[in-house]
Symmetry: C2
Subunit: 193 residues, 2 copies
DNA sequence: GTCTATACCCGGATAGAC
DNA sequence: GTCTATCCGGGTATAGAC
């Protein structure tokens, strides 16, 4: 794992984004639109072709395969999420403080709930690391290090808590009447100093 | 959500398990074997037919569809996991104590790591609640209530932390050199009194 | 009541013509 | 760069043999 520090953008941290042709970019944009609006079942190559006014096989001139489209989407979302989390953390107070933990969790939850299908795509199953820019994954998670004041193990535990609450909320796993705001507060309290 | 209390078995808590024909039971057993050994891509109706020495279409005389097979598997695993977690919690010390939290997390992690494909099946995506016995889901999670001494919000946060750490570990999401034992300890410390 | 054969639909992907 | 034709694999409905 390369040493990447939290910051406002991946590029500022020395992470090199994957270059893509204009047409490939359109494919990825279409994929994002379809996935966000209609979910993963709708994300088919035929559907992406439709969206761009061409036949599905033609897509393969611009993009290697479906997995590559998804990887590109994951790259976009990791970069955006990392930036949002960094913003939240850098405004809330000194590293390691309770307000920072609260701000980080609030921002994390908001991202997940606002884009549930994207959130699942990025966080579920194995990550296609080979297709992602070196260092991007670590950079996007760096705000958690800031929030806990540097302890790696605690940072990973806090990230795990955030992901657990986010994915279970997005997947509708909590019981009907559960007070999710109160649960997120309890989570912040457990990691607040 | 019906009021279900933690206990050694779902039946003891008044949860009624779904009845199934002997042949249907064999189908579910085969599904478990295939899924555990080879993962979700291998879990196809044709493959289950092979396993039982019949053609795939014949399976539909015993089982409504593939989703029902998965739901039956989920039911089995929820019952088993709930029992294991109850065991762990009931031996470790008084409800709400730090040793109980540690024992619960250790048992939870062990279950997930021992059966990663089953763990993903049960915890990923939406739960097919309509196909599950009333109360089973709540019963299987009740040990978390015991572990935190009754606070619902804290119990849900602890469950979320456990799931977050378990799924990220099983999915290989932590960086190469991460000390996962230390992370789980940090998680327990956050929720230990 | 149990199984088989057949067939349909869908989705990913390739080959080769224009 | 786009097309058409085509293959493959997976879920599953139907018809009918025994």
């Amino acid at each position: 794992m390369s040493a990447v520090e939290a910051g406002p953008s991946p590029e500022a941290a020395g992470v090199v984004r994957t270059p893509r042709s204009a047409r490939a970019h359109q494919v990825v944009a279409a994929a994002r639109t379809v996935l966000e609006a209609e979910g993963p079942e709708a994300l088919t190559m035929r559907r992406l072709g439709e969206e761009l006014g061409i036949r599905a096989p033609s897509l393969y001139k611009h993009v290697p395969d479906k997995a590559a489209v998804e990887a590109a989407l994951i790259e976009e979302v990791l970069a955006e999420t990392g930036a949002v989390l960094y913003q939240a953390v850098s405004r809330a107070g000194p590293p390691g403080s309770r307000p920072v933990v609260e701000a980080l969790l609030a921002a994390y939850r908001a991202q997940a709930v606002a884009h549930p299908h994207l959130y699942r795509l990025v966080t579920t199953g194995r990550l296609p690391r080979a297709a992602l820019p070196e260092g991007l994954e670590a950079w996007s998670g760096a705000p958690f290090d800031v929030a806990v004041g540097g302890d790696e193990d605690r940072a990973r535990a806090l990230w795990s808590l955030a992901h657990g609450m986010a994915i279970l909320e997005v997947d509708g796993r909590y019981p009907e009447g559960a007070d999710l705001d109160a649960m997120w507060r309890a989570g912040a309290a457990a990691f607040g100093p």
